[in-house]
């Protein structure tokens, strides 16, 4: 691990390159015609267009919320292009061909799109700007009855499933950004695991914003039927640009009886430069609905990128005996800001949730944990344990904790604890005595501090996450 951190400690954001590929971008602005145009480009059925338009009309009546502990630049929603398609030229030539430039991009990012990478054993859906470029291993998964494709394909091939579940966990009226996403969402992944099937490989989606002046509005829908299991990974990067790019996604997860879903994110959007210029605004609504009895859902997130992160991956525990977990490491450096946490809403009986959140702030960044644990009147025997720790590296950053607990039941047991501290002089001294430089020592200690969460990630991701911790904190010591 040390080697990894040492190797990467002096690197800047390494995914900041731009791919020069012909991209079809629609004109900037947002109105009903644009919503209709996106729907038309994707050849969507009438009901989906109606869904988008309803969401758009609702969005128009709303104002952007301001309650977060964030200093947000004003977003001009008319100055963004809502659809960018880098595969447009390929589509004309033939549907199967992928632009070699695109392949190179994903190679550079280390994403196995080629069969030669089959040994990695991960099925990947690669999404660039508004379009899914390629989904691997589809055939192999099909044998088991698993559907893993882009959401546009799912709308065409499995309209009943999409119609049943789309918007059932995050309705378009949920919040401002959910309404925006529901109106203009482009691509994302769709996963359906049939009854009793254990997904044989990790499913993964890789998101990349490439074109300038655009935003990414992906939508992911995961349905895990009775007794099924799936582990799903999500990764993201973007080129370095001076402007703020908007990323407003929705992730919906439905977990049925005795099913289990693991959702892991390594978020590494471009965080802006050292003076806080540019960077991605990551405003995402993620929610899982544990509908079935004894169902399980775990969110694991490593948040190192984005100029602003504002998201609360949440769980609604309505099935009796359901269990939810939330593990998070949020790192902020330079002028990054994060207001993140989770919501655990206990509705079913004997439900259990665990929250482990580790915040690390350095530079001039602000890092907030905000979480809600709600136990409704019927949720007998609900159990929650929350632990949120903050680590401060430097005297100009801030770490904040805003936990909310609403308890409406006398049988609930809720515990919350939090600590805030800095790396102790003794720990640093101990490392330095043994010849470890101060930067390496900090990386070592930070990695140890985040270990509880990183251990929950699938192996390949854990390695990447450890590297990222080193990169993100570069130059923050001393």
């Amino acid at each position: 691990m040390e080697d990894i951190t040492r190797e990467f400690v002096n690197k800047d954001y390494e995914y900041g390159f731009h791919t020069d590929v012909h991209t079809e971008i629609i004109e900037k602005g947002l109105n009903e015609d644009i919503v209709r145009l996106i729907s038309k480009k994707k050849g969507e059925p009438e009901w989906l267009l109606e869904f988008r338009l309803k969401a758009f009309r609702y969005w128009q009546t709303q104002e952007q919320p301001t309650w977060a502990h964030l200093d947000m630049p004003e977003i001009d929603y008319q100055d963004i292009s809502y659809y960018a398609d880098p595969t447009a030229s390929a589509k004309k030539d033939g549907p199967k061909e992928i632009d070699p430039e695109l392949m190179k991009t994903f190679d550079k990012l280390g994403i196995p799109l080629e069969e030669r990478m089959a040994l990695a054993g991960v099925a990947v859906d690669a999404v660039m700007d508004s379009v899914s470029v390629k989904t691997t291993f589809q055939e192999k998964l099909k044998e088991k009855g698993i559907i893993f494709c882009s959401i546009s394909e799912a709308v065409q091939n499995h309209p009943d499933l999409v119609r049943e579940y789309l918007g059932s966990v995050v309705p378009y009226r949920d919040n401002y950004f959910a309404a925006l996403n529901s109106a203009v969402f482009s691509d994302g992944s769709f996963v359906y695991i049939p009854k009793g099937v254990r997904c044989p490989m990790e499913l993964s989606t890789y998101f990349r914003i490439n074109a300038s002046g655009t935003g990414q509005f992906e939508r992911t829908l995961i349905v895990c039927d009775d007794d099924a299991y799936v582990s799903y990974l999500e990764g993201c990067t973007a080129p370095m640009r001076d402007e703020n790019q908007l990323h407003a996604a929705i992730v919906e997860i439905v977990v049925k009886d005795r099913a289990e879903v693991k959702y892991s994110t390594v978020q590494n959007w471009y965080p802006g430069d050292k003076d806080g210029k540019g960077g991605v605004l990551n405003l995402v609504t993620k929610r899982g609905h544990l509908r079935g009895v004894d169902s399980r859902l775990s969110w694991t997130q490593v948040e190192t990128g984005s100029a602003i992160t504002w998201k609360y991956p949440s769980c609604i525990l309505s099935g009796d005996g359901s269990q939810a977990e939330f593990y998070s490491v949020a790192v902020t450096n330079n002028y990054q800001q994060a207001d993140t946490g989770t919501k655990m809403i206990h509705i079913g009986k004997n439900t259990k949730s665990t929250i482990i959140s580790k915040g690390i702030s350095a530079g001039k960044s602000q890092n907030s944990y905000r979480g809600l644990v709600k136990v409704s009147a019927n949720a007998d025997g609900a159990r929650n344990y929350s632990c949120c720790d903050s680590l401060l590296l430097g005297s100009t950053c801030g770490a904040h904790t805003f936990p909310y607990m609403d308890i409406h039941n006398d049988t609930a047991i809720i515990e919350h604890e939090a600590t805030t501290s800095k790396i102790s002089e003794e720990q640093l001294f101990y490392c330095q005595q043994r010849g470890i430089s101060s930067e390496d020592a900090v990386s070592l200690i930070v990695n140890g501090y985040a270990k509880d969460v990183i251990n929950k990630l699938p192996m390949e991701f854990a390695v990447e996450a450890q590297k990222l911790l080193g990169v993100s904190l570069e130059g923050s010591v001393g």
Partner: protein, 403 residues
Amino acid sequence: MKNNQYVEFYTQVRDTIRQRSCPVMNAHRDEAFSTFSAIGFPTQKVERYKYTDVAQDFAPDYGIQLSSTTGDRTEFCCSLKDAPIDVAPYYNSIANKQDAVVALNTMLAVDALLVYVPKGIKAKHPIQINNTLKGKQDTMINRRILIMMEEGAEADIIITDHAADHQQFLTNQVVEVFCQDNSHLNLYEIEETNLMCTRYSNVFIHEGRDCSVRHTSLTIFNGHTRNTCHVQMVGEHSEVTLHGCVIADKMQRVDNNTCIEHMVPNCQSRELYKYILDDSAIGAFAGMIHVHKDAQKTSSSMTNANLCATRQSRMYTQPMLEIYADDVKCSHGSTVGQLNDQALLYMRQRGISLSEAQLLLKSAFITEVIDNIPLEALRDRLHIIVDKRMRGELSKCEGCKLC
């Protein structure tokens, strides 16, 4: 907006109030009025008032007391009109002027009580400020207290609230406390009223260097209560302790909102709030520890523990930290739970009835707050009151000569 009745009322009685009051208080009246009429009562969308419906509490048509209190002058207490020192720089200087409830108090309070402990004086006996609500009609009381602790002063101050009559009473209290360097203050607030009483209390504490302040808030019997305690630590090497306990049942509501601001380095704060909620009681706790940018070496801890005894009782808790300095030790913890089944079983095996066993455990739970009270006589008395309260024997405050 339901603040119209107060706006109208003030317009009518402005001159009467000004006549009966003193210049120090009149100087702030009109400004408070314009703030109040501009912002109105906070709605539940305002974060700090999330769990309390202020407009509803202030909606009834209360008679408003405008007579001037001319209590006897004692060693340390007097009316603000007879202040032995110049209080103009202090009055309304640390109260939150942008809070509508505070503004309402500033606008309507006719007189204020000054507790003044001069330089180097140690008050031998505790000072008790006894408030008894009496009357034949629904009444709103705007109570204002200014506590001045000069350098090296020491005092114990007990503020008690009682209700003698079964009318709707609304108390809107604002307390401003100034602790100058090296002073030591123990401030107790004990509320023992009845289900028809509503209480809004805003306590603002300003702490200088080398001070120690202990604020204990006990809500033993009430109707609706909203307590705010805001501490500003502006001098180094000071400490503050905020303790509180709440025993609530029936339809009672208690909302405690605290904020400790560490503005300078090397200060220490401790906070402990405990709630026991029975029947349909609703409890809320929102605590904030705000460590400013240069407040290095701050040590702070906040604990909120709650017992929900029935299915209908509700608890909302929000222990918050906002930290802008790196060399600090801050922690907070919060729990919501029930009585330990094993402990109950253990006692029942030994022939103690279930209700008695529950009572014992509840008493033990709340004892942590009471046992920390340094005044022995008060501690003993509170043990008795709390025990009676939990047995349901406390219908009104006992042993008080006034009621």
